[in-house]
């Protein structure tokens, strides 16, 4: 049957999945991603729970599926500007920002060798730097370089232009805007980590060795800023004791009223990262309830002897000004004893904030009080997928994105 085309916004695991699943059933799909690469948040994750397998494995298969599938067109460094029309016939304008590097790029890397400017590497949450012309990360797909125009010196430098044998660099490249005609839209712009510094008593951004769960993924990743060594930001010392503090923002009327669903499993998983590097490490996790749904319970049971689980929501986290060690104050509710334990590092299990809490769709749509796209989102032909709908783990996001693909196809065949 002939399908009209589908627009998928967001190139994370949900968006990639929705795009591929729809196209493998015969639909033409446009995939629009804000960053220079596909993969979104999962590309920054070291291992998935509960299998402790690398996300790049699944991404590689998905990229393979995209490569062999001419029905998918990808626009990276692009954003949706306007959406007009209705189910079955939407007109969408997409602004594609200038990467300043064209399709000729072979990713040989000569340009970065000569680039004189450094920039903070957001892929690693600023824990290291890249050049102003850079490849987002080593598994980046599409495998092309791009230029950070905020720091690039431009024409008066031009060293990269000389170095490139393939005329791949256009410092004067302009942003383009294009119109797409689609029958349905899948919105899969994902989530952001809650700003942990808002939970003042945990001292994130005050105490160097208080980090967040998303940063922990980069610290543990072999392709991360520390080449996978879990060390303290303050002094690079290998971590011998670590505390995972759950619900740093989630389940809290002052922050996120909902439960972010994945943080318990994520912390249990990250506990195994630490143990893998240092079996003698002292690992604590402080929680209100441990939420290991369904068969995830197995993982919870399995790792229980790897760490010490304490029921109690941590109070103030204080820093020793000299050693930068951290003291966590919390009541062990099972024994009633007040603990004031020292740790090398504290990982805050910060929750998920839907991207739509900030950046709304350029079209009438209903959201719930937290900015998630409402389950009854009064806009036929436009479907949320993944964490813009509710907090989800990877498997649930993929499941949801696959479902969204079918809903989108329905919108394109409905007549």
């Amino acid at each position: 049957m002939a399908h009209k085309s589908i627009l998928v916004v967001g190139g994370g695991v949900s968006g990639i999945t929705a795009a591929i699943e729809a196209s493998e059933a015969g639909s033409e799909v446009y995939l629009v991603e804000q960053k220079s690469y596909l993969g979104g948040k999962v590309a920054q994750i070291y291992q998935y729970f509960p299998k402790l397998c690398p996300p790049n494995c699944g991404l590689e298969i998905n990229f393979k599926r995209i490569k062999q599938n001419p029905k998918i067109s990808i626009f990276t460094l692009a954003e949706v500007e306007t959406i007009e029309g209705k189910e079955g016939d939407f007109t969408v304008t997409v602004k594609s920002n200038a990467s300043r590097v064209n399709q000729n790029c072979t990713a040989c890397g000569k340009c970065a060798e000569v680039c004189p400017v450094e920039r903070s590497n957001e892929f690693n949450y600023g824990l290291d730097n890249t050049k102003a012309i850079y490849k987002a990360h080593e598994f980046a797909f599409p495998m092309k370089y791009s230029i950070d125009d905020k720091v690039c010196l431009g024409a008066e430098c031009g060293k990269c232009v000389e170095a490139c044998k393939y005329d791949a660099i256009e410092l004067d490249m302009a942003t383009k805007s294009l119109k797409l005609n689609v029958g349905a839209i899948i919105w899969a712009t994902g989530w952001d980590a809650y700003d942990a510094s808002k939970v003042a008593y945990y001292g994130y951004s005050q105490h160097q060795n208080v980090i967040t769960n998303v940063i922990m993924e980069r610290l543990a990743a072999p392709n991360g800023p520390t080449r996978g060594k879990i060390v303290r930001p303050s002094d690079g010392k290998a971590v011998e004791s670590i505390a995972f503090v759950q619900c740093a923002g989630s389940r809290d009327e002052n922050h996120l009223a909902y439960c972010s669903g994945v943080c318990c499993m994520a912390s249990l998983k990250q506990a195994t990262y630490v143990k893998e590097q240092n079996p003698d490490a002292k690992v604590y996790m402080f929680y209100i309830d441990v939420r290991a749904m369904g068969k995830h319970e197995d993982f919870y049971t399995k790792v229980q002897n790897e760490l010490t689980l304490i029921k109690g929501k941590v109070g103030e986290i204080t820093e020793d000004p000299i050693t930068k060690d951290l003291t966590v104050l919390v009541e062990n509710q099972v024994t009633g004893e007040i603990m004031k334990d020292k740790f090398d590092m504290v990982v805050l299990a910060t929750g998920m904030v839907p991207a739509t809490a900030g950046l709304k769709l350029p079209v009438e749509l209903s959201y719930d009080e937290d900015g998630f796209i409402a389950t009854d989102s009064k806009q036929p032909g436009i479907y949320g997928a993944g964490c813009v709908k509710k907090p989800m783990d990877v498997a649930s996001s993929v499941k949801d994105a696959t479902a969204a693909a079918l809903k989108a196809i329905q919108s394109t065949v409905r007549r």
């Binding site: 298969i61 072979t106 044998k165 509710k390 498997a395 196809i409 329905q410």
Partner: protein
């Protein structure tokens, strides 16, 4: 087709600066006798690719070899359409980027890899997609509960005919027993009316054919061509079906096993299911007529309990909270206790938890130490209240509700021991490594490998993959809803819709003759040269997807639309009668033979690597991309799956003097990573058998080694190779060199 081969050697990205391109070209022109061989500094550029296109159009080149970067990049630039045979030689990532420039060994490596590709293209033929007979686009949905109804409806809405089979006389499943359903929209604080419209809608839909009071007697055939026999109260109906969705759901855990919680012992200890029934009747009253003023919910009744169900049933917390509001609704003064281990209300269901707190619910975290009944049949619960640090005794409670967990319908029935292979030494070969098939009488597949879906732990026929929750072990059959994993209504609806998407995909792809996930677009399929078959059954036993049946004489009967194109059967076949048009035993054999093995005195040993395409091969690329250098003696042959490794290749390699063979494949065991389930494990099993082959050749068995690598292990690869070559140094050169 008469092949006219063109070899295109790119000199860009350091290739030209580090290799003797003229010499490399000779390999193509002199040795390979290829009519066209060109080099260019930028083949992926407009000019370069135009040059190739013009050769295709003007010179009649129909077989293109690109000797440049990895096939993982520039796939789009070098796509010349289905009528052109295209192969890539990876000079960049795997040679010039990880080996010294202008070095004899690097040059030899490049020349060998071109020889191997040339040998390969000699054998590659264009694929002709398999066309099944009278294929249909109809979807069969087994199970008429929320999931099944949703699947049938969503399929029909996308324009596909669906057949919905429900064993009970009415559609709706557990929906029928519910008073209200858990909230599904903001603010998530009050239960909603059960969505019975969905049932009406499916019954009314012209494209949905509903059979109630019906069971599946048999499912024979393959995707696009299933022949399904349905038994509707004794009458036999047959339907031709494209793909199948298993939505038979779950049942509550048997409460009679919970006498420690007073079930069966005390009249007023009931299950959640019973609670719904009572609530539907209106005022909550006990069998003895007493109006319920106080109620206690006991969570994890069976779940999270090694004695019963080790897993969490995922929905019980929300269900009990929902039921708590029933009583609050009737009587705001009523007392509600909830005894729990952890309150598990993920996402927005936290708001339902909060609502029940607001209503005055009493939450007790801790184990039940005793349940007693007073003479008015009220119940008193003693529990260890972690939060006050004391054992507490409740006031008398009118009714206790056990939140019993859920058990998938696939978890019942006699355990069928499927004949599979295991390298786990303390298991017998006949013992399944992890797939269990129970005769649960749901699908009754006419499959040689058993009548139902293989299940993972606890009887769930779930996918093993986080990234691919619909990666099924029975092509064209997708499990959805609580049969696949414990899940709430919202998730079940999503899951039903997702599974339907996959069912539709399977129909569309099978019609084109394409493989389904993960090799979508692969138009090849295994061809069996039956005259040489010895009926050894290895192919039928080892196929991870049950795609091969057997006739009464044990001849294999392939079902190509069930096939996932992994080539495991090809690797399994001792007679080597199974091959694909673009992937075969002789093809790889010739690639091996194409490797030039230097004389012993040249002291240039050779290591042959068979690398899994999905993880190991990209890992080798990553090693190059990160400019990590490694042993220059290696020659790499990518394989679809290590499971497709045929032992004869080992013999071939050894007998021509290659010193060692390294198999790089995916992790296996409980958390296996192989997308063909047992592929890498099978390879290891076969290695066990290699020993004697080598023995016959007087070779040490550790000239062949297997390593498990994933895509991110690239940094470990140099060390893996070095340790292997060190071992080979100890063993000394392969005596067969120069034979």
């Amino acid at each position: 087709m008469v092949k006219k081969t063109g070899v295109y050697i790119c000199t860009g990205c350091d290739i030209g600066d580090s290799l003797d391109i003229a010499a490399l070209s000779k390999v193509a022109t002199k040795e390979g006798k290829v009519p066209v061989c060109k080099s260019h500094a930028f083949f992926c550029g407009t000019e370069g690719s135009a040059l190739i296109k013009s050769d295709i159009e003007n010179e009649g080149v129909n077989t293109v070899v690109i000797a440049a970067c990895s096939p993982r990049v520039n796939y789009d630039v070098f796509d010349f359409g289905p009528s052109i045979i295209m192969e890539r030689t990876n000079l960049r990532e795997q040679i010039t980027w990880c080996h010294p420039a202008n070095d004899e060994d690097t040059q030899m490596m490049a020349e060998d890899s071109l020889r191997m590709t040339l040998a390969k293209v000699k054998q590659v033929e264009l694929t002709e997609p398999y066309q099944g007979e009278n294929m249909v686009e109809t979807i069969l949905v087994v199970g008429g509960g929320l999931t099944g109804i949703t699947a049938a409806l969503e399929g029909a809405k996308a324009g596909y005919k669906t057949v919905l089979v429900e064993k009970s006389p009415v559609l709706g499943g557990w929906m029928n027993g519910l008073f209200k359903q858990a909230p599904q929209k903001s603010p998530y604080t009050t239960p909603e009316e059960v969505d019975v419209d969905r049932i009406k809608e499916v019954e009314a839909h012209p494209d949905v054919k509903v059979y109630v009071g019906a069971e599946i007697q048999e499912i024979a055939g393959a995707p696009g061509m299933f022949d399904v026999t349905i038994n509707q109260n004794g009458t036999i109906i047959t339907e031709r079906i494209g793909s199948v969705i298993l939505a038979t759901g779950a049942v509550p855990y048997d409460p009679t096993k919970l006498d420690h919680l007073g079930y069966g012992k005390f009249d007023n200890v009931i299950t959640g299911q019973k609670m719904e029934e009572l609530a539907s009747k209106g005022k909550l009253v006990r069998p003895d007529g007493k109006e319920v003023q106080s109620i206690a919910f006991i969570q994890c009744a069976g779940s999270r309990d090694s004695e019963h169900l080790p897993y969490c049933s995922a929905t019980c917390c929300v269900e009990s909270l929902k039921q708590a509001t029933y009583l609050q609704e009737q009587n705001p003064e009523a007392t509600v206790y909830i005894f729990y281990k952890d309150i598990r209300t993920p996402g927005q269901y936290e708001r339902l938890y909060k609502q029940v707190q607001k209503d005055g619910g009493i939450f007790v975290k801790g184990d039940i130490t005793a349940i007693n009944e007073d003479d008015e049949k009220n119940l008193i619960i003693q529990a260890a209240d972690v939060l006050s640090g004391a054992v507490i005794s409740s006031e008398s409670i009118d009714m206790v509700v056990l939140a019993t967990g859920m058990v998938p319908t696939t978890a019942f029935g006699e355990n069928l021991i499927v004949e599979t292979v295991s390298c786990d030494t303390d298991k017998k070969d006949s013992e399944p490594t992890e797939a269990v098939i129970l005769k649960s009488n749901l699908l009754n597949l006419a499959y040689r490998q058993g009548p139902e879906m293989p299940t993972l732990k606890y009887g769930f026929p779930d996918s093993h993959f986080i990234c691919f929750p619909y990666e099924t072990r029975r092509t064209g059959i997708y499990a959805a809803g609580s049969v696949r994993a414990p899940m709430d209504e919202i998730s079940a609806i999503e899951d039903a819709t997702g599974a339907t998407m996959k069912a539709i995909q399977c129909i569309e792809l099978s019609a084109q003759g394409s493989a389904v996930h993960p090799r979508v677009g692969d138009m090849s399929f295994p061809d069996f040269a039956m005259q040489r078959c010895t009926q050894c059954k290895r192919c039928t036993v080892e196929c991870p997807f049950g795609s091969i049946n057997e006739d009464e004489k044990f001849n294999p009967i392939p079902n190509h639309t069930r096939c996932r194109r992994c080539g495991i059967c090809m690797g399994a076949c001792p007679e080597r009668i199974i091959s694909f048009k673009n992937y075969s035993v002789p093809m790889i054999g010739n690639m091996i033979k194409a490797i030039e093995v230097p004389e012993e005195d040249e002291e240039k040993p050779r290591i042959l690597i068979f690398a899994c395409e999905n993880d190991a091969y990209p890992a080798l690329d990553m090693t190059g991309i990160n400019r990590l250098s490694y042993n220059a003696w290696v020659r790499v042959i990518p394989v679809r799956c290590l499971g497709s490794l045929n032992i004869v290749w080992i013999a071939d390699a050894m007998s021509q003097g290659i010193d060692g063979i390294l198999l790089l494949g995916c992790k296996h065991g409980e958390d296996y990573q192989c997308h063909f389930i047992q592929g890498s494990e099978l390879a290891e099993v076969r290695l066990g058998k290699v020993a004697e082959t080598l023995g016959r050749l007087d070779l040490e068995s550790d000239r062949v080694r297997m390593e498990q690598v994933n895509i991110t292990d690239y940094d470990k690869i140099p060390a893996i190779l070095d340790s292997f070559s060190d071992r080979l140094q100890e063993l000394g050169p392969n005596p067969y060199k120069g034979f």
